[in-house]
Amino acid sequence: MMNTFVVYVENKPGVLTRVASLFRRRAFNIDSLTVGRTEKPEVSRMTITADADRDQARRIEANLYKLVNVLLVENITNQPAIVRDLAMIKVAATHEARSHVLELASVFRARVVDVAPDSLTIEITGAEDKIDGLLEVLRPYGVLEMVRTGIVAMRRGSKSPGVASAASNFGQIASDDDVSYSV
């Protein structure tokens, strides 16, 4: 099944490579990965979707935690969450088709963001299946070009407990005083 992970990482060079490399090395396939800034400048947030059964998902989570730069991992697959994907779809729209395309766009609450003599570019935000739906009905007119961001996700309700603890970890200084030296 498709799993959705929200991963908080230190905003440092190379962290994206470490995360991506982990999936490659452990032979898990990333379906989509988005990364961006958060409310804290030193923390970046990734939304990763990957196909995995329950055990595999747990191992993905454990392996992500092993990366030193990873602050927090949440598997929100079975949590109430808001999930959004953004797409821009350039569709062929000649004179006679134009009104049909505009109509479809408005049904899907999509916006037209660019108009050219023989095409329209439509921007749509929503869950993945909504975008898939629009795409399907636009296909007969001729989809010239399409780009999707991959999903971003956030748990519903007030701040999730993990986020608070990830944030509080930051700035806290790890101590090497109490390490067992009998390695």
């Binding site: 990482v9 230190e10 190379g14 490579t17 470490r18 490399s21 090395r25 055990d55 747990r58 191992r59 454990a62 392996n63 935690y65 092993k66 990366l67 030193v68 730069n69 990873v70 602050l71 927090l72 970890n169 930051f170 700035g171 806290q172 200084i173 790890a174 101590s175 090497d176 390490v179 067992s180 030296y181 009998s182 390695v183």
Partner: protein, 570 residues
């Protein structure tokens, strides 16, 4: 105080209690070498950077402290890759310091530039690129902390030439590690302990699977107490050897591909496996579908990513083994296990009769005899045996009876040929009072034998036993069993190892008869310097028993019955 990056590097290493580093200089690391003059640290000059990493690894495994290897950029750094991967798979704490081209040149394909943090990303626990002297102190502290804490592993610190050359304010106290995402100190919750105790109490046929984690955690005594109190027998992984004395009545010996048949049968018959600091490697489980089919499994392991990776377990206790056992010990009680232990005794059957040690001398020199004699001669000393990879490694594990932890050093997970000689150098440096023996095949020896010069230059008393069968023996064995004796590329044309040792100034001798083994070992022990013995053993000897790759653990290729063998001879 203001210091250059190079000075900060050595001072930080000293503060991390480093007394020796193993390295090889070159352009991008020269500023660091220039500053070495003012450091108390002793630099061991190696002959190849792979050797430096194995030495650091051997140093860490023998002494329990972090080992340090130093190399220059480009080829110096890439030569370390095999040693880093070896340390990664065997959870060995080493820190590798590499020079890098100037920060302004990064990405320009400058002379001797390699993206070594990119190259080593999947084979290090963590790695760093340092481009400013001001980042150096904190990075070195973090590197040591990450390498030695939790599940230990290799950490690489790549330092640009300008970061070594420029100066900045140095304040050790202020440079504390900042690792907000790194939490090596996990521990199980009360419910998990309860579930584990319940399974332990119910078990009628339990076995402890003892791994490397016991030695890393320093939990030897706790495991022993646990086994003695509960009467549960203990099977060992290759890297778990030494975790419980071989002479202990509850020690069954090594399990897995070349474990004794009755040890593997015991595991297959068990109703509870207690996995202590081991990771169910394919070399110990055989076919997973048929592995210990009737056993519940408790996995005590510090790395949560190992849980349910290969074998699905019923209870996972994620945490430091010693702490977990401290929690469990007060709640376990003694149980009469005589029925189970008697059953295991019966499984031994005619194994002793089949054992090569009990067969009459037929005039041939067998590796098993060499190793068993070596054990008899050195068993009472503080001996460290460092092996390479292959047949001799398995015979060592079978016929050298280790009673102490850290007395066998071997490349388990990666199976790195060429490991033994340099790792032994590291072990001797870490524990100069110990008697160090290299047990190495003629193939693996030639991969890193350049380090003979390091032994001589450092004046180290390391004894080298080459188990010379003129073949890449383990590969030949697989060809014998699985490729219809098609011995492609396994016969070796070797140099005269005695002359070779002599050329390096190492006293060397050859042994061809069983009666000469003990005198040779005694001569090496008496000699005040390194000694090399070329044991010319039976060429087409085979490691028994054996579980073929992918076969079930109980489907072993047994030692030929001596009665059948004798009949065939006649």
């Amino acid at each position: 105080m203001t210091k250059t990056g190079a000075q900060i590097l050595w001072e930080c290493l000293e503060r991390e209690r480093v007394s020796h580093v193993f390295g090889y200089p070159g352009g991008a690391i020269l500023p660091a070498y220039d500053a070495l003059k003012h450091s108390k640290i002793h630099h061991v000059l190696v002959r190849h950077e792979q050797g430096a990493t194995h030495m650091a690894d051997g140093y860490a495994r023998a002494g329990g402290e972090v080992g340090v290897a130093v190399a220059t950029s480009g080829p110096g750094a890439t030569n370390m890759v095999t040693g880093i991967a070896t340390a990664m798979l065997d959870s060995s704490p080493i820190v590798c310091i590499t020079g890098q081209v100037g920060s302004k040149l990064i990405g320009s394909d400058a002379f001797q530039e390699t993206d070594i943090t990119g190259v080593t990303l999947p084979i290090t626990k963590h790695n760093y690129l340092v481009t400013h002297a001001s980042e150096l102190a904190r990075t070195i502290r973090e590197a040591f902390y990450v390498a030695r804490s939790g599940r230990p592993g290799p950490v690489l610190v790549d330092i640009t030439k300008d970061a070594q050359q420029t100066s900045c304010e140095f304040d050790w106290e202020a440079a504390k590690p900042q690792l907000p995402g790194y939490r090596p100190d996990l521990s199980p919750d009360a419910k998990e302990y309860e579930q584990a105790l319940e399974l332990i109490q119910k078990a009628k046929r339990p076995v402890i699977l003892a791994g490397h984690g016991i030695i890393i955690s320093g939990a030897m005594q706790d495991v022993r107490t646990f086994a003695e109190r509960t009467g549960i027998p203990v099977a060992l992984t290759l890297l778990g050897i030494g975790a419980l004395p071989a002479s202990h009545p509850l020690n069954l010996g090594m399990m897995g591909m070349h474990g004794e048949a009755w040890v593997n049968h015991t595991i297959q018959e068990a109703d509870l496996l207690l996995a202590f600091g081991m990771r169910f490697d394919d070399r110990v489980t055989g076919n997973l579908k048929t592995y210990a089919p009737n056993a519940k499994k408790i996995h005590v392991e510090i790395d949560p990513a190992e849980i349910n990776k290969n074998v699905k377990v019923d209870v996972a206790l994620v945490g430091d083994l010693r702490e977990v056992l401290h929690e469990l010990l007060p709640h376990v009680n003694s149980v009469d296990r005589s029925e189970w232990l008697d059953f295991i005794d019966q499984l031994k059957g005619d194994a002793a009769v089949r054992d090569i040690q009990n067969l009459p001398d037929n005039g041939h020199l067998y590796a098993a005899h060499v190793i068993n004699d070596l054990w008899r001669e050195t068993r009472d000393a503080d001996t460290i045996v460092v092996t390479d990879v292959g047949q001799h490694q398995m015979w060592e594990a079978q016929y050298y009876k280790h009673d102490r932890p850290r007395s066998l050093i071997t490349s388990g997970g990666l199976g790195t040929m060429g490991f033994a000689l340099p790792a032994a150098i590291g072990a001797k440096v870490a524990r100069p009072e110990a008697e160090v023996w290299v047990v190495v095949g003629d193939g693996g020896f030639q991969m890193t034998m350049a380090e003979l010069a390091t032994i001589v230059q450092e004046n180290l008393k390391v004894n080298i036993a080459i188990i010379n069968n003129g073949f890449l023996g383990m590969v030949r064995q697989w060809q014998e069993f699985f490729y219809e004796r098609n011995y492609q590329a396994t016969p070796l044309l070797n140099p005269d190892f005695v002359k070779l040792g002599d050329a390096y100034g190492i006293r060397s001798m050859a042994v061809t008869q069983r009666s000469e083994v003990v005198p040779a070992v005694q001569a090496a022990r008496r000699h005040d310097g390194p000694m090399l013995i070329n044991f010319k053993v039976e060429q087409e000897d085979t490691v028994y028993p054996m579980v073929a790759a992918g076969a079930s653990l109980h489907e072993m290729i047994r030692r030929p019955s001596p009665i059948v063998e004798t009949a065939a001879d006649e």
